[in-house]
């Protein structure tokens, strides 16, 4: 069983994707076309990008429920700033606004020692309120059509969101696995007090993590806002579930300390495949919620099994 679970941790998500692909290939004649596949990958890019940030947060032993509010806030700022200061500057400023929301999360969690659930739940409401206030409760149409090219354009036949997904995967891969910051994040997740004693600035690590989560949410929001050309104060309702599902399904352990960035990326693509399949069946959007919720419960079930067997193995003295 332990061997199976270890294998699952590494390759489980491939099985999901493979099974999904086989099913879709039979269900739809259009599935095996390049355009369809690129489209599915592009649709999965949002969950993947925010998933990178969430993977870091879960690795550090926390998590962030405020991502969808941060996305909404970024979207609103983009739509207001673009006519005033131009597209590039507006993107930079909006991303800074998003990141600062994350810094506030981090400050409350690390300095005030409020637990991440309460902090990000509270911040989620505050940030959403601010987004609605700034936008006056309305959607704001962006008139600058060139902005649209970010989310809908293609380079060498590949949609831009895929580039965003791949580039940030590379960056986060380096941060998580190759930088001292990444190692500190994992260390904080597995044993915070030990890390503190060994001289790492735990508070700074946590603030950095939540800033990064908010930054990824901001990035996803830039791409989405550009596709819709509308600043949406109520953007992405329920998106946090997708992001957490992707992170946990990808094999990042809820107990902290172990990131699985590849898993996050692939799980995002898997969820996107589910959406595509549900669209094929012409099911309403509510079934997407149901499907993602069910997948999350399934991923939790497997995670629960894993933890239980790991504990049993440790009790018996088997090396894992």
């Amino acid at each position: 069983m332990i061997r199976f679970l270890k294998l699952y941790e590494k390759f489980g998500i491939f099985i999901f994707i493979f099974a999904g692909a086989v099913f879709l290939a039979f269900a739809s004649p259009n599935f095996l076309k390049l355009d369809t596949i690129l489209n599915i990958i592009a649709q999965g890019s949002y969950a993947a990008v925010v998933g990178y940030g969430m993977t870091m947060a879960v690795t550090s032993g926390g998590f962030d429920l405020s991502v969808e509010s941060v996305m909404a806030l970024t979207s609103v700022f983009l739509s207001i700033l673009i006519p005033v200061i131009g597209i590039p500057l507006a993107i930079i400023v909006s991303l800074m606004v998003a990141t600062s929301a994350g810094v506030v999360n981090g400050l409350i969690i690390s300095k005030l020692k409020v637990n991440p659930l309460i902090t990000t739940l509270g911040m989620s409401t505050i940030v959403k309120g601010i987004a609605l206030l700034v936008a006056g409760g309305k959607m704001i149409v962006i008139l600058q059509k060139q902005f649209m090219s970010i989310g809908t354009g293609k380079l060498l036949g590949i949609p831009n969101p895929i580039y965003v997904m791949v580039i940030f995967f590379a960056i986060f891969y380096l941060v998580v696995y190759r930088s001292s910051f990444g190692r500190h994040v994992a260390a904080v997740g597995s044993n915070e007090s030990a890390v503190k004693i060994s001289g790492v600035n735990v508070d700074a690590v946590k603030i950095g993590v939540y800033a990064l989560v908010a930054l990824t949410a901001g990035l996803a929001s830039v791409v989405r806002t550009s596709q819709a050309l509308i600043g949406m104060p109520s953007m992405a309702a329920g998106f946090v579930l997708v992001v957490l599902t992707v992170t946990i399904l990808g094999g990042t352990s809820l107990t902290g300390g172990r990131a699985n960035l590849w898993g996050t990326l692939l799980a995002a693509l898997f969820v996107s495949m589910i959406y595509y399949g549900l669209n094929l069946l012409n099911l309403q959007i509510f079934y997407q919620m149901l499907a993602v919720g069910t997948v999350l419960m399934l991923a939790l079930f497997i995670e629960g099994l894993r933890l239980r067997y790991l504990k049993a193995a440790k009790a018996k003295g088997i090396k894992v």
Partner: protein, 316 residues
């Protein structure tokens, strides 16, 4: 300092509620009418009753953030049955279904051994989606007189929701203080392993606690549905978990478990309800209310931490 912290534990919230009432009464004349004060007290039962189960849940060391969706699903299922089984049975069905959903949460939490907030986050979306699918996203209207009278009726001049809330709090206080179950909940929340070693069936206690959460949410759903005359699969219970958790934490229940405060939750429910309607009557932009409640939640945790630090208890 210790004196202040002790006084805060007992009198802090009633004091805050009094100040809030005073300030809003001075600022807004509609607010200080006795009609508005009493009707807001009845409104506070919506969150007040719902927070009772959550006090037990947080005391036992867990969270349930699926209660909003649970309320919507139990509500649409119950309300749609009124014409078929009559309203008393439909109301009981709503409460029974909510308890069942709570029980399901409890089974997942105890058997999977996954932190409850994430299990219930998943269930939050499952319940909400089922509510949408069952109704194909149309509200279920309640035309039954008996059900509608729950919110508007009164006994001896006291509105029925207030009586119901008082009854629920009294029963919960009794269970918490006078029954073995109440002590088991405290024991599980304080130290799970110690509770297990001393022969308490921890899984059973947790499942019972989650069922209780559902039970009280079910009662609150019946009252809410009666006020609104309908249950909406999308709107009912939206943000409910957030408000209820805010109330429980503001009421002084420690997030680490083991330390619950039911009366505090009652006063916190008053505080939140009066704050929301007060801001509404002053015609403050309703979006400020999001910001305000968010701050109240984080402030409440901060206050609890300061209090525990002074009194030397463990917290968060």
């Amino acid at each position: 300092m210790v004196w202040a912290a002790n006084r805060w534990e007992n009198f802090g919230l009633p004091f805050l509620v009094a100040i809030l009432l005073l300030v809003f009464s001075l600022l807004s004349s509609p607010f200080r009418s006795s009609y508005s004060l009493v009707s807001n007290l009845s409104f506070s039962s919506l969150v007040g009753i719902g927070s009772i189960g959550m006090v037990f849940c947080i005391m036992s060391g867990d969270f349930d953030i699926s209660i909003g969706s649970m309320s919507a699903l139990a509500g649409v299922l119950g309300a749609s049955m009124v014409t078929r089984i009559g309203s008393p049975a439909a109301m009981l069905l709503t409460i029974a279904l909510a308890s069942l959903f709570g029980f399901v949460n409890g089974v997942f939490v105890t058997k999977l051994r996954i932190p409850a907030f994430i299990t219930t986050l998943g269930m939050q979306f499952v319940y909400r989606a089922l509510a949408y699918i069952y109704t194909t996203n149309t509200p279920v209207y309640i035309e039954d007189k008996l059900w509608l009278s729950i919110g508007s009726g009164s006994v001896l001049g006291i509105p029925f929701p207030i009586l119901l809330m008082a009854l629920c709090f009294a029963a919960a206080l009794y269970v918490l203080r006078k029954t073995p179950f109440g002590r088991y909940v405290i024991a599980v929340g304080t130290n799970k392993n110690a509770a297990m070693l001393s022969g308490i069936n921890v899984d059973f206690v947790k499942m019972a606690v989650f069922t209780l959460v559902g039970f009280f949410v079910g009662i609150a759903t019946v009252v809410t549905a009666s006020y609104l005359g309908s249950v909406n699969p999308g709107q009912t219970g939206q943000g409910y978990e957030f408000r209820v958790i805010t109330i429980v934490v503001l009421g002084g229940t420690a997030l680490t478990g083991g330390n619950g405060n039911l009366l505090g939750a009652f006063f916190a429910a008053l505080f939140i309800t009066y704050m929301e309607t007060g801001l509404g009557m002053l015609q403050v932009n309703s979006y400020w209310q999001y910001v305000a409640t968010g701050f109240v939640l984080i402030f409440a945790v901060g206050i609890n931490r300061v209090k525990s630090a002074v009194l030397g208890q463990r917290d968060t």
